[in-house]
Amino acid sequence: MASTVKYVRVPPPSANIAEARKRVFEFFKTACRSIPTIMEIYTLDDVVTPTKLRSTITSEFRKNAHVTNPQVIDMLLIKGTEELSNIVEHAKQRHHIIGQYVLSREDSNQETKDEGTSDFLKSFYKGNYV
């Protein structure tokens, strides 16, 4: 399996924004379809739900929502494909996934809630020694 990925060809550059957009949707669907596999190989059932993972993927996509240059989108797609194949091939370990896509999300979700609270409360939630 690893050998197949090694020789994945870089697709020709997208001609216009519409083609790039189509490719992004394709890739999003691929990523979402691989969620059950990811849940299984990293045994994530007790820490996260498929829905949450899906929204994590969405938020990763939305991070780059402002990008309009098709070439940049192509580059981001290649990076995304690489990350996804690393995950699906079990090139990462469980704690990588949990750290990157499960726990850090919780914090960022909470931090939006914490707006308006004092620094004391923020450090209180982080730990006893912060």
């Binding site: 620094d119 004391f120 409360l121 939630y125 006893n128």
Partner: protein
């Protein structure tokens, strides 16, 4: 280390030929020590550099005329008459090696390690037992003294087993240290070494009889067959028995729970204080990583001298059992579910707002520090409630006059007392270190002790005067035979147990005791002999901070109960639908009824101020990190106040202390005792109620299990099981 070398040499010797054996044997000690003529007295040089007394030892001259001058290694020192040669050397700045001598114990003079040369004396003298005489010329550094020490060392090691590598005392063994410093590099012992059972020098036996007041430990056999043991397979039933571990210069008596757990060089020592009773003994917590490995005493002449009770010494395993490590909420099915701090605080804040202010009640636990108690009080006051108190202080504590709840004589001041009247208190189990002081005084001056209360175990002579308040009436009216002893005393001390706080007729008892105090002239400008002996570490600070409930029946009408480490509260009368928040470090009694659990740090993990029974404020120092997701007590309340929308105006320990300063400035004078200014008797309103006939109860049922930490300790459980047998 040295013993290891000795061991290898002993092995080598047995293998080598007889010829070589003799050659090796010929070298015994440093060659220049062989000329044993007394050292020629060198004229004292006038420009000797000044030396400082060892460990800042101070000389107290009871009578200036009795000062004598002796010369230690040529240095003239002035000492009072009656001091020993060893004490004179200490004052002169020379530390004499010793095993059997201990400052606080009687002199035995049986180890001979402290031999020094005295001019015009034919033989070296044992300095610990020899009184210094005027003009004596003491030499501590001459070949004779050195050779004597070497010889003693060799004799001591002769019968010492070769098990330093597995001995628990390794690294902090006096024998090891002194054999390194003063011993010869080889011995002449060729027979088989024995193993394990040790030879003893006896400080422990003297400790047991003199400080702890028990006769259980003794020396069995004579000469090389001598052994330390408890007579007849008996348990050493003293609450101070653990101190023989510190006092033993070698590894003969070691801590059983600490045995083979750690080496002293891998431990981090944190100087802090104990919170298991109201004495506030100074302790050092030795920790390795996140784990408390042992607790040893620290010197504080005013509080615990250099002893600690067994509870203090051995309860530490409770710090790692039954800990609460995550915030939890009780679900509909009655089971606790782990939640995040955000959710837990949000739930508590929501519920507290739904209740009427007068239905909100807060109770601080026995082990609470002053910072968290003031935060709790401020928070609940902001919510509109003033029903906050500290458990153990009773339903209606008197916090107005400080002299009404602290030990006015001070713990070290008890030594000056010549008659004691103990009312409803068993100091032996309530405050073992205070009891040790009384025992010391009774032993030294034959002070009379009278006791009113249920039959109890004392380790000194006492008179049991009665069991209930009627005896107090007799004493107040001067009808009791013990009155003569009290009125003849120059400095009588009355000690009232804090168990009386829980009685309904508390005020009446206090006023009768004050009458007695007046009658025997116990409260004078130069002597205040009217004392209260508190039970818990938090009590004194709680009263200083004014944690007094508004109504006596607040529990019955509570709808929202905030327990800050309070486990010994009777919750039977609490309404079924009340919402209980438990903030604390152990899953103890309070948790069974709790709806929300907020995990907090224990005293070994936080910085907090505690005031002891004599009103001396001391702070704990964090020794180990907190467990799990726990937070410091005051931080939890501060965070909760913000979530509830009534943010407390302090966000740091410094800020909270300046808040304390406005309420009870004495709590900020760390390590200093702030005496009460007014004496309570004149300022108190007259009491109309009559005393109850009911006899005094026992405040502490089980010495070894008094709070959440000690109840979680396995060692304490074993101790109390053994004691019951």
């Amino acid at each position: 280390m040295v013993l290891g070398q000795l061991a290898s040499r002993a092995l080598l010797r047995s293998r080598t030929s007889a010829h070589r054996h003799i050659l090796r044997r010929a070298i015994v000690s440093t060659p220049d020590l062989h000329n044993s003529e007394p050292a020629v007295a060198a004229a004292p040089e006038p420009d000797l550099p000044p030396r400082k007394p060892v460990a800042g030892a101070r000389v107290h001259f009871p009578n200036p005329d009795d000062a004598i001058e002796v010369f230690v290694d040529g240095y003239p020192v002035k000492i009072p008459k009656g001091m020993t040669v060893l004490q004179a050397c200490v004052v002169a700045g020379v530390d004499i090696p010793r095993f059997c001598y201990h400052d606080r114990l009687s002199i035995a003079g049986n180890c001979r390690m402290c031999l020094v040369e005295v001019e015009k004396s034919p033989k070296p003298v044992a300095s610990c037992a020899m009184p210094a005489l005027p003009g004596m010329k003491i030499k501590t550094d001459t070949p004779i003294a050195k050779k004597a020490r070497e010889g003693v060392m060799e004799f001591l090691l002769m019968n010492h087993p070769l098990d330093c590598p597995i001995c628990d005392q390794g690294g902090e063994c006096d024998l090891q240290d002194q054999s390194m410093a003063f011993g010869s590099d080889r011995g002449r012992f060729t027979e088989m070494k024995r193993s394990v059972v040790d030879k003893n020098l006896g400080p422990c036996v003297r400790f047991a009889t003199e400080v702890a007041g028990v006769q259980d430990l003794g020396i069995l056999g004579r000469g090389s067959g001598e052994e330390i043991g408890t007579y007849v397979e008996k348990l050493m039933t003293s609450e101070l028995s653990g101190n023989v571990i510190d006092i033993c210069p070698v590894g003969a008596l070691t801590s059983k729970p600490f045995a083979f757990k750690a080496r002293n060089w891998e431990l981090k020592g944190t100087e802090t204080i104990d919170v298991t009773d109201a004495v506030g003994s100074n302790i050092r917590i030795d920790s390795r990583g996140p784990e408390v490995m042992r607790i040893v005493p620290r010197l504080n002449e005013d509080i615990n001298e250099e002893w600690i009770s067994d509870k203090t010494r051995f309860f530490y395993d409770g710090l790692k059992r039954q800990r609460l490590n995550d915030p939890m909420i009780r679900g509909a099915d009655g089971r606790f579910k782990v939640v995040s701090w955000r959710d837990a605080l949000a739930v508590v804040a929501e519920v507290i707002h739904k209740n009427k202010p007068e239905e909100i009640v807060g109770v601080a636990g026995k082990l609470s520090d002053a910072e968290s108690m003031i935060a709790l009080k401020d928070f609940l006051n902001k919510m509109g409630s003033n029903n906050i108190w500290c458990e153990g202080n009773g339903p209606n504590p008197n916090a107005d006059l400080r002299s009404g709840y602290i030990m006015n004589t001070s713990i070290s001041g008890l030594e000056k007392a010549d008659a004691f009247l103990l009312i409803g208190t068993q100091p032996r189990v309530e405050a073992a270190m205070v009891n040790a002081r009384i025992q010391k005084t009774v032993r030294a001056t034959n002070a009379k002790v009278g006791y009113v209360g249920p039959p109890a175990d004392f380790n000194y002579d006492h008179e049991h005067l009665g069991t209930g308040p009627e005896t107090l009436t007799e004493l107040a009216e001067g009808r009791h035979p013990f009155n003569s002893a009290l009125s003849n005393a120059k400095n009588p001390a009355i000690i009232l147990g804090a168990g009386i706080f829980e009685r309904k007729d508390k005020e009446a008892i206090f006023s009768v005791v004050e009458t007695i105090a007046k009658k025997i002239n116990a409260v004078r400008p130069d002597w205040n002999g009217l004392n209260v002996l508190l039970l818990n570490a938090a009590q004194s600070a709680a009263l200083d901070l004014g944690l007094v409930p508004e109504s006596e029946k607040s529990i019955e009408s509570a709808k929202f109960l905030y327990l800050m480490g309070a486990d010994d509260l009777n919750l039977e009368k609490l309404p079924e639908d009340a919402f209980v928040v438990y903030q604390g470090h152990h899953g103890d009694r309070g948790v069974y009824r709790a709806n929300v659990i907020l995990p907090a740090s224990a005293f070994s993990e936080k910085e907090g101020t505690y005031a002891n029974t004599e009103g001396c404020a001391q702070t704990t120092v964090p020794a180990v990190p907190t467990v799990g997701d726990a937070r410091d007590d005051w931080k939890i309340i501060r965070a909760l106040s913000e979530v509830a929308g009534v943010t407390l105006p302090y966000g740091s320990l410094g800020a909270i202390r300046s808040r304390i300063k406005t309420v009870a400035p004495n709590l900020l004078l760390a390590d200093e005792r702030e005496p009460a200014v007014f004496s309570s008797s004149d300022l108190r309103p007259e009491v109309k109620e009559k005393m109850d006939k009911a006899p005094f109860g026992t405040a502490v049922e089980n010495f070894y299990m008094t709070d959440a930490i000690t109840r979680a300790s396995k060692i304490m459980a074993q101790c109390s099981a053994l004691l019951k047998k």
